[in-house]
C-alpha cells in the first residue's frame, strides 16, 4: 500500500522537479503532464476514481493542451536564453525559500497530532456524488459554473486580437 504510494509520489515529484528545471519549454510541459498523471494515480490509490478521471480529463486533456498552445503561439526560440547572474541569484533564493516552506510544512506534518480514524472513507459512488453536488453543494456548483463561464469569456476577450481588422485596412 505504502510502497505504491511511494512509487507514485517519487514519480510525480521527480517529473515535476525535472519540469521546473528543464531548459526546453515543451519538454517541461510533457514532464508536467507526467506529473499530473502521477497525481491522478495518487487519487486512484486513494480510492477517488471520479476525481482521478476528472484530473486526467482536465489536466492532461485541457490544461496541458492550452499550455502547449500558448508555447507555440509565443515561440521565440526553442530554449530560453542562458540565465543572467540576476536570474541565477533569484533561482537560488527561490529554491531556498521553497526549501524553507517545505521544511516548515514537513515539520508541521510530522509533529501535528493527526487524528487518523481506523476505517478508510467509504468509496463514494458517482450517484452519491451527483446527489451531493446537486443537493448540499448546489449553490457552490452554480458559482463555479458562473466562474467558468466568465473565465472562458474573459480568456477569449484577452486572447482575441486587439487590432481587429478595420474596413479598408489593406495589408
Amino acid at each position: 500500500m505504502s510502497a505504491a504510494l511511494a512509487i507514485v509520489a517519487l514519480a510525480t515529484l521527480g517529473s515535476a522537479a525535472a519540469a521546473m528545471l528543464g531548459r526546453s519549454l515543451l519538454r517541461s510541459i510533457f514532464m508536467l503532464a507526467v506529473s499530473w498523471a502521477g497525481v491522478a494515480a495518487f487519487y486512484m490509490w486513494a480510492g477517488a476514481q471520479f476525481v482521478a478521471f476528472a484530473q486526467v480529463l482536465i489536466y492532461l486533456g485541457a490544461i496541458s493542451m492550452v499550455a502547449l498552445f500558448a508555447v507555440l503561439l509565443t515561440r521565440q526560440s526553442r530554449d530560453e536564453a542562458s540565465p543572467p547572474p540576476a536570474a541565477l541569484r533569484r533561482a537560488i533564493l527561490a529554491v531556498v525559500a521553497a526549501a524553507g516552506v517545505a521544511a516548515v510544512l514537513l515539520w508541521a506534518v510530522a509533529h501535528s497530532p493527526l487524528a487518523v480514524s481506523g476505517s478508510l472513507a467509504p468509496a463514494t459512488s458517482v450517484r452519491q456524488l451527483g446527489f451531493d453536488l446537486m443537493g448540499r453543494h448546489a449553490a457552490a456548483l452554480l458559482v463555479v459554473g458562473v466562474l467558468l463561464t466568465i473565465a472562458l469569456l474573459g480568456a477569449v476577450v484577452l486572447a482575441a486580437d486587439g487590432a481587429q481588422e478595420r474596413p479598408g485596412d489593406e495589408p
Binding site: 505504502s2 504510494l5 511511494a6 509520489a9 515529484l13 515535476a16 521546473m20 517541461s28 510541459i29 497525481v39 495518487f42 486513494a46 480510492g47 477517488a48 476525481v51 476528472a54 484530473q55 482536465i58 489536466y59 485541457a62 490544461i63 492550452v66 499550455a67 498552445f69 508555447v71 503561439l73 509565443t74 521565440q76 533569484r90 533561482a91 527561490a94 521553497a98 526549501a99 516552506v101 517545505a102 510544512l105 514537513l106 506534518v109 510530522a110 487518523v116 480514524s117 478508510l120 472513507a121 467509504p122 463514494t124 456524488l129 451531493d132 453536488l133 448540499r136 453543494h137 466562474l147 467558468l148 473565465a151 472562458l152 480568456a155 477569449v156 484577452l158 486572447a159 486580437d161 486587439g162
Partner: protein
Amino acid sequence: MNALQLCLAFSSLLFAVGLAGALARSNAIIVLLGLELMLNAANINFIAFWRFSPSSAPATGVIFVLFSIAVAAAEAAVGMALVIAIYRHQKTIRLPDATDLKG
C-alpha cells in the same frame, strides 16, 4: 509515520517544487504551471484527509477537489490568455521584461 502523514509529506514536497518553479523561472508559462502544481498539492491534501479521516459528510473532500480542479482550469485558461496578450504587446513572455503597465 502513518499513511496520512506520507500523503501530506508528498503534497508538501510537491507544493515546494511548484513554489520553487514559480519563484525561480522567468518564463510566464512555467510560472503558471508552477501555480498549477501548487494547486494540485492542495488537492492531494483534500483527498488525503477525506480518505483517512471519514467525517459525517462522506463526499465533501472529493467535491472540494472537483471544485478546485474547475477553478484551476479557469485559472489556466485566463492565465494563458494573459500570456498571449502580454506576448502580443511586449514580444516576450519573460516576466522580468514585462515591467511596463502600458503596452
